[in-house]
Amino acid sequence: MTVLVTTDRLADWLRQARRLNGLHLDAMTQSYDLDGALSAGQPELAWRARQRILVLSAELFLQERGLRFDELPDLAEHMSAVLEALETVHSEHAAEVWEMVLRPAPIDATELAADIQATIDYCRDVLGVATVGSRAATIRAWADSVRLLREAAKDLGVAQSDHWYLRDEALAAEHLDWYDEVMAIVTVESQENSRTESGGAGDAQQ
């Protein structure tokens, strides 16, 4: 392993960081949609979230390799643009992602859930997007990117509202700042995930 140090002009970095923050926000909201849809038996919502997660993972893969572009207002055009860019960087992954994007959704609910899980595994294991598949991890990544973005913007003198985050008044007495408040949620989510996973493992052993 080598120690990698990169430097960027703050204004350029800020522009890129905004898009990255947008991707983390999207990953977080899609994670809420996916979890909710699977629990409630809403297959179309779940499949739409799967598609969004797949393509935003491809964009995060490109971001890691220094390729950045702005979000296009039309989702289908944005997906095409991301996958065309992926083609220039890694044609094998591009072909795999295209196949997954255009694959028909299974009708059977179990098969649909299995396909979604396989897609998440692909995003995490092949595209290297570690946060995918864990709502807690997507929340943490989003919060980290917001905190960094706001610190950098402050340095550039960019005006920022202090009211962008809706504090949980029930936690006001604990005097947490917004970041600590979010991290408290991440901790609870992670503990619940661990309990579910260990319960699931126990069930499997039985």
Binding site: G36, S39, A40, L83, L102, I107, W164, R167, E181
Partner: protein, 337 residues
């Protein structure tokens, strides 16, 4: 002020809204809306609130707050904005539709179904201006236009060898078409991700209508060419809208040269910038560079590609937006096509 417990919302949602409204400034109205109010929401759906300020400028645009299992999404609007939005939507015509945005439809519909939590006079007076039936009618029309715009680009992509892009665009066109049909049936919640729930609520999950509206974009069975032909027969824009879309015209700007390549063409703005083009943009640009008018160029390309001329005109026009914005193309006066 309403009692929040009377709004028939899940207890955790009601409790959260109660907390937020307790911190509002004296004259700010609060309306609860979104998928939970619409009846589609699940245990992880966000809580959508509109906070409406009587002043002309909102304090901020949005805010977010994470909670266990959900997040809260607040959007700040002003009374003057709502008045303008209501006027535009209630007075819409087929020809004014293209000027309305996805956000306009989303806000109008959400306001029409919104549950007033705290409402001051200036907002209460406006409540009758937001009607769900109008929201459904306008959205049905706009979604049909969106279906056509995606169909047009899918046709252009397929005809120029971009079959995967065509496939993706055709599915999005199917989704917009289903959205249009459902809005006309009274299911106008303006979000593509809820089409399945809308179709299930309107027709039932086991019905042929549900399958027809969902399978087209979720699990298409036929090849892309057959699907495009089928969709073309369904997505019929009214004459007045087509008449407005067709005569738009543009030409190469002064001192812009076209250089043809094998896969990629180039437009060069003397001493300033270079644009790469592909697909239908390249073939139309070649005709424009050869001296054709927009109407001639698109008619010739439509014939060469065997694509209906209306689709070439709309598809090429959309793909050429960046070229017009960057000064490679100039918008001309309407011509007789």
């Amino acid at each position: 002020m309403n009692l929040i417990r009377d709004l028939a919302l899940p207890p955790d949602v009601a409790s959260e809204i109660e907390q937020i409204t307790a911190t509002l400034s004296a004259d700010t109205s609060c309306i609860a809306t979104g998928s939970i109010v619409e009846g589609f929401g699940n245990a992880n759906s966000d809580i959508d609130l509109y906070l409406i300020d009587p002043k002309r400028v909102a304090r901020q645009s949005t805010s977010i707050g994470l909670r266990q299992s959900r997040y809260v999404d607040c959007e700040y609007l002003t009374v003057s904005y709502l008045e303008t939005l209501a006027d535009r939507m209630n007075g819409h015509t087929w020809t004014s539709l293209p000027d309305l945005t996805s956000r306009d439809f989303s806000r109008y519909y959400r306001l029409s179904i919104g549950k007033p939590v705290v409402v001051y006079e200036s907002v209460a007076k406006l409540s009758e201006s937001f009607q769900r039936s109008m929201a459904c009618l306008a959205y049905s029309r706009w979604a049909l236009l969106m279906a056509f715009k995606h169909l047009a680009r899918a046709s252009c992509c397929l005809a120029t060898g971009l079959s995967r892009q065509a496939d993706l665009l055709e599915r999005e066109a199917q989704l917009w078409y289903a959205t249009s049909v459902l809005a006309a049936e009274g299911e106008g919640y303006p979000s593509l991700k809820w089409v399945g729930e809308k179709a299930a609520r309107r027709f039932g999950r086991d019905s042929p209508q549900y399958r027809e509206l969902v399978d087209g974009w979720l699990r298409p069975a036929a090849g892309i060419t057959a699907r495009l032909a089928q969709l073309r027969s369904q997505v019929q824009l009214p004459t007045e809208l087509m008449t407005m879309l067709q005569p738009r015209s543009c030409h190469l700007a002064d001192r812009v040269r076209h250089v043809a390549g094998s896969d990629t063409d180039y437009l060069i703005r003397a001493g300033q910038s270079v644009a790469q083009t592909r697909g239908v943009v390249s073939v139309v640009s070649r005709r424009l560079a050869a001296g054709d008018s927009w109407a001639q160029a698109t008619a010739t390309v439509a014939e060469e590609l065997s694509v209906p001329v209306g689709e070439v005109r709309v598809g090429a026009w959309m793909y050429m937006v960046p070229l017009r914005s960057a000064g490679f193309l100039s918008v001309g006066v309407a011509e007789g096509a």
